[in-house]
Symmetry: C2
Subunit: 409 residues, 2 copies
């Protein structure tokens, strides 16, 4: 059994036993997202710097005591997590920064951070004896769930906006999912998946509906903490769509703080696209999230109705962080920059946090001496169309040396 003590409603504070409730707070409905409360006193006995040092499980499962897994035998085979945290020396030199790290989470099984929560979703589904999983997704959550489900023999029914990049849809189909490409936005696909869940009794993995997703996402920051040898950065830049990843990052630091393994928390910076920045506006303004019509190439964070808005806004404000928005042009430039200078290939949402960091530096919201971590959430191969816009053109030539020479002039 896991060390989960209670599930607590973000809105009304009601506490539930784990087997009492499946999704959101029954009293509060959609906005009553549940948070997972652990028994840290018990965890401390099994989990500390020494046990971590000896642990040779280099995947997200090295943090098992901090995860809501009742039956570890239900963990799927795919190797999720323990992605590289790069010191980014060439970027440090180029930008004259002293303390920059980049976490490349595109190195997961289906090439995005979402493999982490999806791994948890599949375990919870199996613990409950469910045979079919579902979710709505801008793409990455979907392909990660489809891959994880396939690896353990669950069926998956996936709802995506019809506009999702074809690479992401192709991935779903190869994993054997039934894919509903919805003529509408991500937000419509999201609502439809919840309706279908109620109608057909599937197990739903949706962000801020399934309470365990923040727990999966937090493993990216548990790794950052350990990879930085328990040093806490000043600022952590996170791309924000639904706001679930940034709450996961917050949770990781809170967990480690509760265990006495770090002594303070980092400031969290939410980065969004100019064409879709409801969370940025909220945290920089009065805290109220106003819904918008998304308009950005960064499909993974093109979320007009951020489902985890309350928790995300609370976590960012509490961390004394801020929000920053970047233009699509800056997102594309960041793709090219990360690739050219450091050899990291990010998808648009993946490069968004980096673009935000560059902007915050220009605007002197952060200093070049600050300890900064930037989270890259997905691999550029997931959205080749955007990569083409970012990368430029190949030189088409005839197969002879003269043709090569001509291009050199």
């Amino acid at each position: 059994m896991s060390y989960v003590k209670k599930l607590k409603c973000l809105l009304c504070g009601t506490e539930y036993d784990a087997n009492e409730v499946k999704y959101n707070c029954p009293k509060c409905g959609d906005e009553g997202v549940l948070e997972i409360i652990y028994d840290y006193l018990k965890i401390k006995k099994d989990f500390n710097r020494d046990t971590l040092k000896k642990n040779r499980e280099f995947s997200m499962w090295r943090y098992l005591p901090l995860l809501p897994v009742d039956d570890p035998a239900k963990i799927g085979p795919s190797k999720v997590g323990w992605t590289p945290l790069y010191e980014a020396k060439r970027i440090r030199e180029d930008l004259d920064m002293l303390n920059l790290w980049i976490k490349d989470d595109g190195r997961n099984p289906t090439a995005s951070l979402k493999d982490r929560p999806s791994a948890i979703a599949v375990i919870k589904a199996r613990e409950l004896g469910e045979k079919i999983v579902t979710c709505a997704s801008t793409g990455n959550a979907a392909s990660s769930l489809a891959g994880a489900a396939a690896s353990v023999g669950l069926k998956s029914y996936i709802f995506v906006p019809q506009t999702a990049p074809s690479a992401k849809i192709a991935q779903l189909l190869v994993f054997g999912s039934t894919v509903f490409a919805v003529r509408g936005t991500y937000d419509e696909a999201f609502d439809l998946s919840i309706e279908a869940t109620r109608e057909f009794g599937w197990y739903n993995r949706n962000t801020a509906f399934n309470p365990y997703m923040v727990e999966g996402k937090k493993t990216v920051a548990l790794e950052i903490i350990e990879q930085m040898d328990f040093e806490v950065p000043d600022y952590l830049f996170v791309p924000v769509g639904d706001g679930c990843i940034i709450s996961g990052v917050a949770k990781a630091y809170k967990d480690m703080f509760s265990l006495g393994l770090i002594d303070h928390l980092p400031k969290l910076v939410a980065v969004q696209a100019e064409g879709c920045k409801p969370i940025v506006e909220a945290v920089n303004g009065d805290g109220e999230v106003k819904f918008v019509e998304p308009n950005t190439i960064a499909d993974s964070i093109a979320v007009g109705i951020p489902r985890n808005r309350l928790m995300a806004v609370r976590d960012i404000i509490k961390s004394r962080g801020f929000g920053i928005a970047v233009r699509d042009k800056e997102i594309l430039e960041a793709i090219k920059y990360l690739g050219t200078v450091q050899g990291i290939f990010a998808e648009p949402a993946g490069s968004t946090a980096f673009a935000g960091m560059v902007k915050a530096l220009k605007e002197k919201k952060i200093s070049k001496k600050d300890k900064i971590v930037v989270l890259v959430t997905g691999n550029g191969l997931k959205d080749v169309e955007s990569a083409k816009k970012a990368g430029g053109e190949a030189l088409v030539i005839d197969p002879n040396l003269e043709a090569v020479k001509e291009t050199m002039n």
Copy 2:
């Protein structure tokens, strides 16, 4: 300094010092591929099961004593290697096999096995003080070289056939390469890159021209050996284009045998597409490689003039292995099967070895009880067009429950 003793010509047997020669044997020309000879007696002192057990470097660099690296400070930052070896339980069950493993080398930085040799190429270039690297490639070698070069600040000039998948070209451009998309085959791009190397003095990474590439590729099998706890499989299935990966696999087992860490070698099975099978024909026939016009969707192994043919044919025959060819249809079916049954997303060349294994099983060339390892060399996101052919179609629906229900009938 490395433990490299000599570079020895495959054809005439002449031995050279490492600083005496850069590419092929000066006496024998193109076919005089050089092999790297190590001082195993010295290596034994630094490298054994105990040192491996204590080694916490989980990347290809854990095998540094077995690599031609003179200056480890020149190793680039990207985390290459230590990719998962899956027990593939669901495929075992489905195919009623007892001992099947799948090595997923699509989990490398640029999503293919080629990151391993490219990492070595970039080190050798830096050791020589070179500033520009080049290669010809069907795509994966190119993007891996481009990424590795970018990560350490080298310029790259890359030759690809104009028909290379657009994802691979986009990757190159994002990494800041100058890309020559040659109106011609891979074989023409290859020859042109050698001409350009001679003309402009760039450092060339081409397979079977640069002698160190087999050494990088062998790390995939060094990992397999360690991940299988020094148990040797009966058969190892490898997709074959130029024939350099399969020679790398052979070299790994020979290295470990020379060090007394294993007591025999596995049989190597070369898998090619029906539309391009010069190596398969050679090893199953009289050993002579006849050039062909490639015709297959598996672009990474669409090689009509296999550059490492002599070494590859020698290694396969010596191992008492065999060759097997599969149709494009079987390659696409293998993509879907690996995705649906095990959650592994492979590119066409990546699924080719698996397709060959299934065929060999049907044809009773191997038995269900044999210990089998299948090498998946690249991620499916690299070739979304083929994935689409393999995966099928999404169900396009309006955003309402009725539309979902209709598809269920």
